[in-house]
Amino acid sequence: MLFGPQADLAGCRELHLTVGETATCAQLREMLAEACPALVPSLGESRFAINQQMAGDDRAVRADDEVALIGLVSGG
C-alpha cells in the first residue's frame, strides 16, 4: 500500500509484487526500487509497516501480510 506523495509518484495506491517465502523488508525495498524507479529517492528514508505495525528491515514478509510503505509523512 502506498500513501500521500509516494502514491502520486508511483501513480497507484497499491503495488503487487511476487516475493519468495523468505523475503524480508530489506528485499522488498530493493524490489520496490526496481518495480517503481520514481520511488527510489524516497525509499531510503521510508519504513515499512506490516499489519499496521512498524517493521524493521529484517522482518520477514509472509503471504497475506498487509504491507504499507511509510515515507514522506508530514502530519500537523
Binding site: 500500500m1 500513501f3 500521500g4 506523495p5 502520486d8 509497516a49 499496521q52 505495525q53 504499507a68 511509510i70 514522506l72 509523512v73 508530514s74 502530519g75 500537523g76
Partner: protein, 131 residues
C-alpha cells in the same frame, strides 16, 4: 483515560475536545493552522491522508510515551483527515501538567516525533492547478 486521540474529517472545530485538567497547574494548547501558500505558491488548502487505524494507534502510543516521560496529567490530540482549507485548524495538541516546563517540553517533542513517525500525509491543493 488521560490520553485521547480524535481523527476528525475536515477542519477542527473552534471548540477543543475535553482535556482532564483536575490537579493541573498548566494547560498548554497548540493549534496548527493551514497556511495560505506552500513554497510561495498559493493554495486553497491541504488534503490530509491517514492510514487507519494505525494513525490513531501510533498517536496514542506517542502520547502515552510523552505522558510517562514527562509525568503529564493528560494529553488530547485532534488531527484532521481529508481536506482542510487554508486558515483552518488541522491539528490541535493540548497538554495538562503540574507545571509549565514539562508541558512545553512535551509539546515540542510530541510535534517533532509526530512529523517524523506518524503515518499522516498531506498534499497541497494549489490555486493555479485549478485553472
Amino acid at each position: 483515560m488521560n490520553v485521547t486521540i480524535h481523527i476528525i474529517d475536515g477542519p477542527l472545530s473552534d471548540e477543543p475536545k475535553p482535556l482532564e485538567t483536575m490537579s493541573a497547574g498548566a494547560v498548554v494548547c497548540f493549534d496548527g493552522v493551514v497556511r495560505p501558500s506552500e513554497h510561495n505558491r498559493p493554495i486553497t488548502g491541504l488534503e490530509y491522508e491517514t492510514y487507519d487505524p494505525m494513525t490513531e494507534n501510533t498517536l496514542h502510543q506517542l502520547a502515552g510515551r510523552m505522558r510517562d516521560e514527562f509525568g503529564l496529567i493528560a494529553i488530547t490530540v485532534e488531527h484532521s483527515r481529508g481536506f482542510v482549507p487554508n486558515g483552518e485548524r488541522s491539528f490541535r495538541l493540548r497538554i495538562a501538567s503540574a507545571h509549565r516546563a514539562e508541558a512545553l517540553r512535551a509539546m515540542e517533542q510530541f510535534i517533532e516525533q509526530m512529523k517524523r513517525d506518524i503515518p499522516i500525509w498531506k498534499r497541497p491543493r494549489f490555486v493555479d492547478a485549478q485553472a
